[in-house]
Amino acid sequence: MSAALQIDKLTVRHGAVVAVTDASLIAAPGAITCLVGVNGAGKSSLLRAVVGLASSEGNISLGAQDISRMSTEARIRAGLAYVPEGRRVFPGLTVGENLLVSGPSNARARRQRLDDALDLFPHLKPRIHDRAWQLSGGQQQMLAIGRALMARPDVYLLDEPTLGLAPQIIDDVAASLRQLSASGAAILVAEQNAGFAERIADETILIRTGRISNP
């Protein structure tokens, strides 16, 4: 079983603006936790702070390990994976390269994980040699999740994974998240699509103006 992500009294500031105040939550292994709130509620800031891309105060731990003071790179190595809003795949790299780039240093293990990622997202298989910018939004979302999967993380952090996607593609995203969750990973999804959150979440947490309503 993977480790749980525990966030305790996290405060995130962007200069003088406080984006998140004293947020506490737990994303449990084998479960999908949805952080639901409107645009500007602080969801993205919270995820960016967890992965170390935004500075914050408070405690973040992964299993028994305190990762609050770690660099972003160290947090990823400790077991986090981040799928940002807007996917942010590497447009000039091929689909295969986008997946391989976050894989382990051992070439054989990297190839094996590539095959696993393509098994989870078979639509990417015929596009393996295409550049990422040539993919549709839905395919790019699959690629972004697949890229995170390559690191075999304990915890997935996904920011608005359904933004701009067609309903059929949203179903595919939901199915892939359930599959990852079933493998034992903890999944924390920031989402303003309440319908999607209701469908997939084992636990739903509301965030309003930077404060968590029901921790």
Partner: protein
């Protein structure tokens, strides 16, 4: 046949310029900052070759190709020094800070070389000996052919690393989206150091290649960084392939114009041509959409 010989000279000059321009882009892509000490790194490579050749007992000539690994190592270390002293401590400051620190570093290199070697032009050994060889009726200088072969080998090796290895994939990912690369666990500082080491080593190799045919003086850096800059601008900002093509265009322009007039006029007209290119195509001749570089 004269045309073929001129073309060969242009390709040789372009190959050396391409090494300079590619080295410039490697650092640019890893940092989004312009390393203004890059021209001095070319000069340092030339003087490294001069210094290494002086270590050989008097009377025995050593081919430049034997010195190449030493020049690559020394200039790679220079690149690491530029990164450690002029880039990493201020990487989160506005880009103009890096301009100033790298310009300052370049001035230190120039003055250091002046103090060590004097201001007079020096020459490095030829790569594989001097003289000419006849091929299909064309008389080609050994040095020109050796420059082309050496540059092709270095550029080919770089292309292999960038396209076929995990390190190369990480390098290109950092060039396209550094924050996302970090969020995948890629060590950005390590990639940055590598970019400075590789980019400066490429500049150093160009210095060795150019220092036999054109001599080298400590103050040559400004002209060389300008040519690298022009190659990158007309080739498309951040594109390695564009930088090489831009460098080749510059060399053909210089050799072509100089063959019917003079070198100073060729250099002057080069800047006129660049202005005209940028007026017509602001993204450069081979400019590509943003973030598709490397």
């Amino acid at each position: 046949m004269l045309g073929a010989q001129l073309a060969l000279n242009a390709v040789a000059l372009g190959a050396a310029y391409a090494l300079v321009a590619i080295g410039f882009v490697l650092v640019l892509n890893a940092t989004t900052a312009v390393n203004f000490a890059h021209g001095e790194s070319v000069v340092a490579g030339g003087f490294a070759a001069v210094a290494l050749a002086m270590l050989v007992p008097a009377g025995s000539a050593i081919p430049g190709i034997i010195l190449l690994p030493g020049v690559l190592v020394l200039t790679a270390l220079l690149g690491l020094a530029i990164a450690a002293l002029a880039y990493l401590p201020i990487r989160n400051r506005p880009p103009v800070s890096v301009f100033v620190t790298t310009i300052a570093f370049g001035i230190i290199v120039t003055n250091g070389l002046n103090a060590a070697f004097g201001a007079a032009p020096r020459t490095a050994p030829a790569l594989l000996g001097t003289g000419t060889i006849e091929f299909l009726g064309v008389t080609a200088s050994r040095q020109s052919l050796a420059i082309i072969a050496t540059a092709a080998l270095l550029i080919g090796a770089l292309a292999f690393v960038l396209q076929r290895t995990q390190l190369g994939r990480q390098f290109r990912a950092c060039a396209q989206d550094p924050e996302m690369a970090r969020a995948l666990g890629i060590r950005l500082t390590r990639i940055t150091l590598l970019a400075f080491a590789l980019g400066t080593a490429f500049a150093g190799a160009a210095g060795l290649l150019l220092a036999h045919q054109f001599f080298v003086t400590p103050s040559d850096g400004a002209g060389l960084i300008l040519k690298a800059y022009i190659a990158v601008v007309i080739g498309g900002w951040g594109s390695l392939r564009g930088a090489a093509l831009g460098a080749m265009l510059i060399a053909f322009f210089e050799v072509g114009v100089a063959s019917v007039s003079s070198q100073p006029l060729a250099e002057g007209l080069l800047y006129v041509a660049v202005l005209l290119v940028l007026l017509v195509r602001p993204d450069g001749i081979f400019g590509e959409p943003q973030r598709l570089r490397a």
